[in-house]
Amino acid sequence: MLAYLLKRFLWMIPLLIGISLISFFIMHLAPGDITTSEASFNPKASEESRQKLRALYNLDKPVIVQYSLWVKRMATLDFGTSFASHQRPVFWQTKDKDGNITLGMIQEALPITLLINVLSLILIIIVALPLGVISALKQNQLADRSITLFVFIGFAIPGFWLALMLMYWTGVQHTWLPISGLESMGHENMSWLNQTCDTLKHLLLPVSISGLTGLAGISLFVRNGMLDVLHQDYITTARSKGLNETRVIYGHALRNALLPLITIFGLSIPGLIGGSVIAESIFAIPGMGKLFYDAVLMRDFPVIMGILTIGALLTMIGNLIADVAYAWADPRVRRGVIK
């Protein structure tokens, strides 16, 4: 296990180098340098803000120096201060000389996005697992066919459209649920129980939307995994030695069918984080996605580069956790029998 972990950690080094190169490349994508391109479609960009950009990314220095300074920024997670939001630090809080703390923008937004994503992962597990198992056990029967239809529609439905429709139906037509933000008016004066209920109510729609789009894939995955496993020799063995069907399915088949799911969850992290842009901007939730969207609209480059990098790091960490969990769950992986 230790050898596997060490290998897995070392493997992150080329990945980090690659991420730094790609983000550096994106910064230099604009024709000329980003200072002039910003000016070209934003006539109000003053000479001063151009100078700030130039100083921030050291654009007057040779490319190799610029790159090494960018790597240094990444390594210390120092992404500078925002252009648009009164010089707030992009990533983490800073203290000025009077001891006043200014919270970082990502620092504030990240927990919200993580909460939504964890909740929607839980929703996916609760709903997709039974759907996939039922679909596999009732193969080609009515239940399976309806679930497959649901899966196809789930793949095809644009999340933001579903969000709009649900918002209209539950928020505008019936006023059952709040449709924007995370807190109602007067949230500060509620008891903690009411506060929790209030926040959960606000989260219900966004979490359902971001969960629903992932649901289809996972339930299809569980179905196909179950079907594969059910035809394995050890299932036949389990049946022929007289185990009852419940033990065979839940004790033997499901446990093995679920193994690859760990990897799938790891792989779905970038999609979930990226997908938060649309959900959060529709429901006006102050998470990473909304922050990123606003930054793109205002061309707040320090925030864009900060979130891009943090998003990539999060994905890497998610994949690392998934791989380690897989190795922990499946001895064949940690002993290097299968890859």
């Binding site: 080609n140 933001f160 709009l164 990123f292």
Partner: protein
């Protein structure tokens, strides 16, 4: 030959895509109004006899805009996936054919690209460029070639040492000939299937970007930016949200059904029967 009638879902998918293609082609002939013609006397009319899908906040005919929007969807899907597929084939072929350090390099690049949230990557690039339909197509293409690369590489790895390839090589075929006349044609089916599924997700990404105002720019109509108006007027004009959403849903469904059906038809082992 494959009995196509055994795959009814693929046929449904094909019919959906073919009809949308046809509608997009003949859009100028059947559109009842100029899609960009503003008419202040007909603002936010609900669906009626002269405006089959109603009108939007500027009095433009939604049905005409939907027809022209289908052209955008199709074009973005085809061009973006075309770019991704070409990149994927080239990189995958190099990696799978030559192996060694170049294979490692390409595969690490794939890993890096996969670890950056795609939608963030696309938005970041658009922030540094200007949003326009061409930039959207290029950016979606440049951020979605990783799947094809892995696929082509895997196909090449499994075909590289088959007898027919070794025989061709023994007869003196050059690398290029091996790649283009022996390996690539035999890997074509999975590439086509993944391209069709790729178009489906490109359509979704484009509509999402246009919805956020970072894709196709007004006044040019796209299903995504009609929905942006729909959000604006959601309390009084349901038709502005309903029709473009349904159009995206049906189009993406069509591509998915077609792609999935083709995969089952050519690879009966993956079929669930």
């Amino acid at each position: 030959m494959i009995n196509i009638r055994r795959y009814p879902l693929a046929i449904i998918g094909f019919i959906i895509i073919a009809s949308i293609l046809l509608l997009a082609l003949i859009a100028p002939l059947i559109a009842p109004y100029d899609p960009n013609a503003i008419n202040v006397k007909a603002i936010l009319l609900s669906p009626n006899n002269s405006h089959f899908m109603g009108t939007d906040g500027l009095g433009r005919d939604v049905f005409s805009r939907m027809l022209y929007g289908s052209r955008i969807s199709l074009m973005v899907g085809f061009v973006a996936v075309g770019i991704a597929t070409v990149i994927g084939i080239i990189l995958g072929a190099i990696a799978g054919f030559y192996r060694g350090w170049i294979d490692t390099l390409i595969m690490r690049l794939v890993d890096v690209m996969l670890s950056i949230p795609t939608f963030f990557l696309i938005l970041a690039v658009i922030a540094f460029l200007t949003p326009s339909i061409w930039n959207i197509m290029i950016v979606i293409g440049l951020t979605s070639w990783m799947g094809v690369t892995r696929l082509v590489r895997a196909e090449f790895l499994s075909l590289r040492h088959r007898e027919f390839v070794l025989a061709a090589q023994a007869l003196g075929a050059k690398d290029m000939r091996l790649i283009f006349t022996h390996l690539l044609p035999n890997s074509l089916t999975p590439i086509i299937v993944s391209s069709i599924l790729g178009i489906a997700s490109a359509v979704l990404v484009e509509s999402g970007l246009s919805f956020l105002g970072l894709g196709v720019q007004a006044p040019q109509a796209s299903w995504g930016n009609i929905l942006t108006d729909g959000k604006e007027y959601i309390q009084f004009a349901w038709w502005l949200s309903l029709f473009p959403g349904l159009a995206i849903l049906i189009t993406v469904l069509g591509y998915n059904l077609l792609g999935d059906g083709l995969r089952d038809a050519y690879n009966p082992r993956s079929s669930k029967n």
